[in-house]
């Protein structure tokens, strides 16, 4: 026999069950999960940096900040340029004052809280500049560690941040071995270089590429065999940064030296 109490209970259960559509249970859909990881798209954006050509003018940093609305004087930046000066005693001096927003205009090496270091010309064995930006890794650790799905990789390989979904935990900043991520000073969410996604998806080049007068920065589509950037990557000796992390970075460097961090 069913008594009133049991009936109420069961009725509630049934009503509750009906009220919850099956979609509520869909944390992820296995059918979509099977979607090919490498993607079937025709575009995969890559970047090529020629360190031989970079002179450390920082016009790329300036253009990037304005184009992508990162407050100009804030001490964070989506892209930056590093200076390496190797002296005769074997020491490696690195700096990037304000991310080279105003370029390198002095021979003094910025050392943060320490006094700037003056290096005599005759002590220099080699010196060069290395632009840095997001590597849009094929295995982006920053995306892997996002707890809420607020950062992701698009089919064409660019890693984006959903500003309306980011909780600002900073785990992605911690997870990036290249230090490209930071908190946007205005939006207060994770921020990073996205190859100027709004430009490249309109057929333009990223702002830093356009701003560079020396051709040190180039952007291309690795899936297009006729793309000049693809040709260089395929035929010349290119290097990537911090290969040991297994992130499979997609920013390639010509003339990378062992000193580069």
């Amino acid at each position: 026999m069913i008594n009133r109490r049991d009936f109420c209970k069961k009725a509630l259960l049934v009503a509750g069950g009906l009220a919850i559509p099956l979609t509520a249970l869909e944390i992820f859909n296995p059918r979509r999960l099977r979607a090919e990881k490498s993607g079937s798209g025709k575009v995969r954006w890559v970047f090529l940096v020629d360190t031989h050509k970079c002179v450390g003018c920082g016009l790329c940093v300036r253009a990037c900040k304005i184009e992508n609305e990162v407050p100009y004087d804030a001490n964070v930046t989506r892209t930056w340029v590093e200076r390496y000066v190797v002296t005769k005693d074997g020491k490696i001096h690195v700096d990037s004052p304000k991310g080279a927003l105003d370029g390198f205009t002095s021979t003094k090496i910025d050392q943060g809280a320490e006094h700037p270091l003056e290096i005599r010309n005759e002590d220099i064995d080699k010196a060069f500049f290395v632009p840095k930006l997001c590597n849009q890794c094929d295995n982006p650790p920053c995306v892997q560690v996002c707890p809420v799905g607020a950062t992701y990789q698009t089919e064409d390989g660019v890693v984006l941040v959903d500003r309306s979904w980011c909780i600002g935990c900073g785990y992605c900043i911690m997870g990036c071995p290249y230090g490209v991520r930071f908190f946007h000073p205005v939006h207060r969410v994770a921020e990073k270089c996205n190859f100027c996604y709004h430009r490249i998806s309109k057929g333009m080049k990223s702002a830093c590429v356009d701003a560079c007068p020396f051709g040190a920065r180039r952007i291309g589509n690795i899936k297009d065999p006729n793309d000049p950037v693809t040709k260089i990557i395929m035929t010349e000796r290119v290097a990537i940064l911090k290969e040991e992390y297994g992130t499979k970075p997609q920013v390639f460097y010509l003339g990378l030296s062992r000193e580069v961090k």
Binding site: G112, I167, G168, C169, G170, P177, G179, F183, R188
Partner: protein
């Protein structure tokens, strides 16, 4: 100003975007969850493994663990740049992230502790509710409220017969048993959050979760001992004052001997886990020095030069070795035990500090350092949240909550101890 700039000092070459992004609150987070897990494990030692000597402290630490629970979440909320979106961790969890499981593990754990508490206190709820019901219309508004509260708390289970209570006891045992792995998971996974960051040379080690669990149990037990002693001292004072009217209350001496007995027993477990924690930490250190991979050059500078005082003097010396000796010396007194457990707490806190802040003390470029300057006097919301007073707030909240909880679920002086 950029987040992190207010308290970060950079030295030599640090990538432009690098700052100390994880600050005091992220130190507080594993410290507080450690206390939660530790307190729960302590209570389970009695419920599951039947360690009779811990009977007195078991219920106490269970309630305390419940009071600590919301506080384990607090530092995270204070740390988030968008705390109002925190719920997304449960809405769209991305399980490849160690943090994503937090919402689920934490809630599961909270529900287990809450259920266990319910079974432990069910008889009390029923008794109190019935008592208040008998008053009928003579109830004051406060009593009315309490009547309603306790009636709701019984969840309609009014049966307090012997058979039902037996079932309660079984349920408590089951939940306490279930709770141990979940508590360990809750905290071990806090260690995983750090241990799995491959970009950070100091954090990345599979030992991290285990180290975190051990030090969690250590700190949890230590805090329970201290809080227990404090409440016992208060009881002594209150009873001494009340005994004039109520001579049947236990005398100061009786309380004292009971107190010492509990403390002595509990410290034994404390020492055990302390040894385990130190062993693992030293293993990690030796292993890093021996294998000396690429990152060792900068790690060595951080460990042996920059953070030497914090690691070897405050953490290992003052926080581990000294209390270890104090606890092992014969004829333990309450005073010595309290001093030692306080030191242990400092030691565990420093361990968290050295992991969280120490892991950010060097640049990912391995060619520069960052120093964290803890903001003391806040000059804006950010320096309050991620400064001294924010941390202090987190540290004090469990006591406020504990006080509130004991109003509903008294820890001492129940008429009949069924568990």
């Amino acid at each position: 100003m950029v987040h992190g700039e207010a308290w970060t000092i950079k030295e030599f070459f640090v990538y432009p975007n690098e700052y100390i992004y994880w600050t005091i609150q992220i130190v507080m987070y594993p410290f507080m969850t450690g206390l939660v897990a530790g307190a729960f494990v302590l209570s389970s030692l009695y419920h599951v493994f039947g360690v009779k000597q811990l009977k007195e402290i078991a219920r106490f630490s269970l309630v305390f663990s419940f009071a600590l629970l919301p506080v384990a979440m607090m530092p995270l909320m204070l740390h988030l740049q968008q705390p109002q979106r925190g719920i997304e961790v449960m809405m769209t969890p991305h399980f490849t992230s160690a943090i994503a499981a937090f919402g689920i593990v934490f809630t599961t754990y909270a529900m287990i502790v809450a259920s266990e508490l319910w079974f432990v206190y069910r008889k009390y709820f029923v008794d109190t509710a019935l008592e208040l019901r008998q008053l009928g219309d003579k109830r004051t508004p406060v009593q009315n409220f309490r009547h309603l509260l306790y009636t709701v708390l019984t969840l309609g289970a009014w049966d307090v017969g012997e058979h039902a209570l037996e079932k309660d006891e079984k349920a408590v045992k089951f939940l306490a048993g279930l709770g141990i792995p979940v508590a360990c998971f809750l905290h071990g996974y806090a260690g995983f959050i750090f241990g799995s960051v491959k970009a950070n040379a100091l954090w990345m080690t599979p030992l991290m979760p285990v180290i975190f669990i051990c030090s969690a149990v250590v700190s949890g037990i230590a805090l329970c001992i201290i809080t227990y002693v404090v409440t016992m001292e208060l009881r002594k004072l209150i009873y001494a004052w009340q005994r004039r009217n109520k001579p049947y209350l236990p005398s100061t001496e009786e309380l004292k001997s009971a107190e010492l007995h509990v403390v002595t027993m509990t410290t034994k477990y404390l020492v055990m886990f302390l040894v385990l924690a130190i062993t693992l930490e030293l293993l990690d250190l030796i292993f890093r020095g021996y294998t000396a991979v690429k990152s060792w050059d900068i790690l060595r500078k951080v460990i042996y030069e920059k953070d030497f005082t914090k690691i070897f003097i405050l953490q290992y010396g003052f926080g581990n070795l000294l209390p270890f000796i104090l606890l092992l010396l014969p004829r333990l007194t309450i005073r010595r035990a309290v001093a030692a457990t306080l030191m242990v707490l400092v030691g565990v806190f420093m361990m968290r500090w050295n992991v969280v802040i120490g892991g950010q003390a060097f640049s990912a470029s391995y060619s520069g350092f960052m120093e964290y300057v803890l903001p003391i006097w806040p000059h804006d919301m950010e320096t309050f949240k991620e400064g001294f007073f924010g941390a202090l707030m987190v540290l004090l909240t469990p006591y406020v909550l504990f006080y509130g909880l004991t109003k509903v679920m008294p820890v001492f002086g129940l008429k009949e101890d069924s568990h």
